[in-house]
Structure formats: structure tokens, C-alpha cells
């Protein structure tokens, strides 16, 4: 209820995703309770909240990854660019190309670096020939800030890279299908501070051309990179606001309790 009011207050830029009254059930268990959230275009939105509050569940709603989970049922309405993504005619594979995803654990395919990035463009037929595919692969690696480090290793296995490089490889892989929106679920949780800084730098860079929604357990990371932050608690959005406001003067006691480490 509060979250909805706040939404309208902060809804000054165009929102690319609009979620209304989204509830998610795993069997009988209701993991999300009527969540409404607008995601502004070309901004970074951070989702924070205690473990099990439904952040990943919400993120997975946005590209229908929940469809792949047995027993999972999604209610409510989610639009991307005004189009209902749960409408019957929607092709999930195309949707997931538009709304890419990067996971907590870097999960490169056991293939070459080149093939990792080329995989999805090939499936989607984005390149007419080998030259075009090369261009897509190199451009994606470049955008992911990885090209310099791997340009001589393109035929080596992606799994041989360091954790931070693997994570950026996964970002390159997501970028290769030219998405508009990138969902990231704790992309830095397994990375050291330097690798984290590189991924954060990359995320900020990507913001110019993409809309990014990132789940993070690092309050500092949310504060550093996002413009908007949503605080989830027990399957609901307690507070959504400008990141700066939320981290200096949160409106809700529960938000304050969580971000200051007083949760009880």
C-alpha cells in the first residue's frame, strides 16, 4: 500500500517495466504478496532485503523464468514497454532475449569464450555470416569490459577464466542478444573487491544503453550504483525510493532496521 503511493511519487522518468499486484506461489506457499513496482528506463534499480523475502522470485517474474519452475504460479500484471509479458502469444525465448539475466554464480558453458558469447546470437539468428557473428562477439566482450583480457584466448574454455572474468563473460553473453533490460541476481557475491569494482564500473557504463535491475546483499553496492532502491520484506515491498533518500533517511522503520543492521 505504502509502496504504491511511493511509486507514483518517484515515477518521474519513463518506466520500462511496470509490475502491478504481482503475487507468486510455490505450490501453496505465497512468496510474493501483491507487489507493485515500476522500473525506470536507463536507470539502475536495486532490490534489497533479507534472505527469502522474494527478491529473486520477483526478478524471475520479469523474464518469466518462474515458468521453468514446477509448481510456481504467477498472478498479477507485468508489462514491458506497455506489453503484457504473460499474454498467451508472448514467446518466452524472445522475451528472455530482451530481458537478459546474469546470475549469482558465473555459469559459463563448458565451451570456448567465443562460443559462450556466440551461442545465443546463433540461436536467435542474429548474424547472417561468420563476420557478423565475430562482430557481435567482439562488441559484446568489449562492452563487458573483457575484450582486452581475452582477445588472444577466444578459443580457450570459458571455465578457465577467473571468477570476475567469468562473471563479465556472462554479462557479455547476456549483451550479445542486444537486450534492453538486464536482470542481475547478486552478480558480485562471489567476487573480490577488485573484480567487484570492475563489474560495478561495467554496470554503470551499461546503464547508458540498458535498464538494469540488480539484486544485492551489499548495502554499499546498492548505494553506490543504483538510482532507485526497493526494499523487500516477507514477500512485500516495504519501501521504494531514490537510493540516496533511502540510505540517508528511509521512511519506514523496517527499512531503517534492515539497512543499519538492527533487524529483529
Amino acid at each position: 500500500m505504502l509502496a504504491k503511493d511511493m511509486n507514483t511519487v518517484y515515477n518521474d522518468t519513463k518506466s520500462i517495466i511496470s509490475a502491478k499486484d504481482v503475487s507468486v506461489f510455490y505450490g501453496e506457499k505465497r512468496a510474493l504478496k501483491s507487489v507493485s513496482l515500476d522500473i525506470p528506463e536507463n536507470q539502475i534499480t536495486a532490490l534489497i532485503g533479507p534472505s527469502g523475502c522474494g527478491k529473486s522470485t520477483f526478478l524471475r517474474c520479469l523474464n518469466r523464468m518462474n515458468d521453468t519452475i514446477e509448481n510456481c504460479r504467477v498472478e498479477g500484471n507485468i508489462t514491458v514497454d506497455g506489453q503484457d509479458i504473460y499474454a498467451p502469444h508472448v514467446d518466452e525465448v524472445l522475451l528472455r532475449a530482451r530481458v537478459g539475466m546474469v546470475f549469482q554464480k558465473a555459469n559459463p558453458f563448458p565451451k570456448s569464450i567465443y562460443d559462450n558469447v556466440a551461442y545465443a546470437p546463433r540461436i536467435h539468428g542474429l548474424a547472417k555470416n561468420k563476420d557478423e557473428l565475430d562482430d557481435i562477439v567482439l562488441a559484446s566482450l568489449e562492452k563487458a569490459g573483457l575484450l582486452d583480457e581475452v582477445k588472444d584466448l577466444l578459443n580457450e574454455s570459458g571455465t578457465g577464466l577467473s571468477g570476475g572474468q567469468q562473471q563479465r563473460l556472462c554479462i557479455a553473453r547476456a549483451l550479445a542478444v542486444q537486450p534492453d533490460i538486464i536482470l542481475m541476481d547478486e552478480p558480485c557475491s562471489a567476487l573480490d573487491p577488485i573484480a567487484t569494482a570492475k563489474v560495478e564500473e561495467l554496470i554503470e557504463e551499461l546503464r547508458k544503453n540498458y535498464t538494469i535491475i540488480i539484486v544485492t546483499h551489499s548495502m554499499q553496492q546498492a548505494a553506490r550504483i543504483s538510482q532507485k532502491t526497493a526494499f523487500f520484506h516477507l514477500g512485500e515491498i516495504v519501501e521504494i525510493g531514490e537510493t540516496e533518500q533511502l540510505f540517508t533517511s528511509p521512511n519506514d522503520k523496517r527499512t531503517q532496521g534492515y539497512i543499519t543492521g538492527r533487524f529483529g
Binding site: 548495502m219 540517508t248 533517511s249 539497512i259
Partner: protein, 248 residues
């Protein structure tokens, strides 16, 4: 509310340490103002001298608050009300240090005055000093009890100090014109009164900081301001003093 209930209890302790140090510093600053004023009224050079020396303690407290705050910022990454408490602590410490400087400066001027012939006491100075000392007490109470309303009350009270200062300023100008030999002493008194008035201003600043710390917002009404001496011209005083003459 306040610096309690963190899962990591040593975090609570560190925040509380900052609060305690601020309150200690404020208490010392208030007693410095009191000593400097008493030294003036009683023409007590020893007390004035002690006031000057005690200033070092307040400087040391400020440094220790700075260190605590920097350490806490670096190690705990405070956010929200915790962040506001640490930043407020830093700012308040720096203002209280200046408050103490004003008191020490009053001590120095008190010593200089005692070397000059006795002049008429200006009762407005101890009265101003008392008003401002009560502002300090209340601001510390507001801080200790997280009482934004009390802070706002202090914030509004600064106007009375300004008004007292204005009338005293005029009074001293009149003395100086009556008896040019009193100019040196009267100038010291004006500066002492100005010091007290500045301390009052700093209480207004601290009130704003406390209100921000508690609520996350600064007061929205415009600041009460009644010190007009910076635009008071001697010509005005001449005509004023001539009307005063007429009153006699």
C-alpha cells in the same frame, strides 16, 4: 530510537561513545562560557586564565570525536540514522570547539579589562551569557533525549540573544561617545558580547543539525535573525544618543 539495537552490539557502543563525548564536550563548553562570564563580572584574572587553559581539553575532545567518527565511517559504513548520527557528531564537535574558543577569547579580553580602569558594568552581558548558557543546556538535553521539539525551541530562541546584543551594542556606543577614555574597554566588551552572540548562533546551527539527525530533514521555516548591528551606522547612534540625552 537512537543508537541502539544493532545486531553487532559493539556498533551500538561506538555510536554511544560519540554521543557521550559530544555531551561531555557541550557540558565543558557551557561551563567555559560560565567561567569567562564570572571572571568578567568578578574581575577575576585567575579564573579568566583558567578558562583560557581549559580550552585545550575541549580541543582534545574534538580530536577524539573526529577519530571515533572516521573510524566508524571506515569500518562500519553507517547508513540512515546511524550515518546521520556520525556526521552530526562531527559537525557538532567542530561547532562546540568554536564555542569554547569564543569563551577562551572572552577570558583573554577579561584579563585585558582588569588591567584597565573599572568601567560601568554592562548588565546585558551576563544576561546574554545566561540566556546562551541555557540554550547550550537545552540543546544538549535535546541531543541526549532525541527531542527535536526542544531543539526547535532553542533554534527559535536565538532571536532574544540577538535583540539583547543589539540593545547592548547601542548602550556601549553611547558610553564611548560620552567618555572616549572608555573606548578600549568598551570595545573589549562589545567583542565579548559578540562572542556570546556567536555562541548563540552556533546553538542555532547545532539545533538544525540535531533536527536533521532525528528527522532526516532540516527546519523549513526561515531562520530567525535579529542581529542588525552589522548594518547599524554611527550616525544613527548619534541621533539615538541625542534623544537619550533629551530623556535625561
Amino acid at each position: 530510537m537512537g543508537s541502539t539495537d544493532h545486531i553487532v552490539s559493539s556498533f551500538d557502543d561506538e555510536l554511544q561513545e560519540i554521543r557521550n563525548a559530544i555531551i561531555e564536550m557541550g557540558g565543558l563548553a557551557a561551563s567555559q562560557l560560565e567561567s569567562a562570564t564570572r571572571a568578567l563580572v568578578d574581575r577575576n584574572t585567575d579564573l579568566a586564565q583558567r578558562t583560557i587553559e581549559t580550552d585545550a581539553e575541549i580541543d582534545a575532545l574534538e580530536k577524539s570525536i573526529d577519530n571515533m567518527a572516521i573510524r566508524l565511517l571506515a569500518l562500519r559504513n553507517p547508513v540512515a540514522d546511524d550515518l546521520r548520527l556520525v556526521i552530526s557528531g562531527l559537525k557538532m564537535a567542530s561547532l562546540l570547539e568554536r564555542v569554547a574558543d569564543y569563551a577562551a577569547n572572552m577570558g583573554k579580553r577579561g584579563i585585558a579589562l582588569n588591567q584597565a580602569p573599572v568601567i560601568r558594568m554592562v548588565s546585558a552581558i551576563p544576561r546574554m551569557s545566561e540566556l546562551v548558557r541555557r540554550m547550550i543546556d537545552d540543546i544538549l538535553a535535546a541531543y541526549a533525549q532525541n527531542d527535536a521539539n526542544l531543539a526547535l525551541d532553542v533554534w527559535r530562541r536565538d532571536q532574544e540573544v540577538d535583540q539583547l546584543y543589539n540593545s547592548m551594542f547601542r548602550e556601549l556606543l553611547t558610553y564611548m561617545m560620552e567618555d572616549p577614555r572608555s573606548i578600549t574597554s568598551c570595545t573589549h566588551l562589545i567583542f565579548m558580547a559578540k562572542n556570546i552572540e556567536r555562541i548563540g548562533d552556533h546553538m542555532t546551527n547545532i539545533a538544525e543539525i540535531i533536527i536533521y539527525q532525528i528527522t532526516g530533514n532540516t527546519p523549513t521555516e526561515s531562520r530567525p535573525k535579529a542581529d542588525i548591528t552589522s548594518t547599524t551606522m554611527i550616525e544613527n547612534e548619534l541621533s539615538l544618543s541625542s534623544t537619550n540625552e533629551g530623556d535625561k
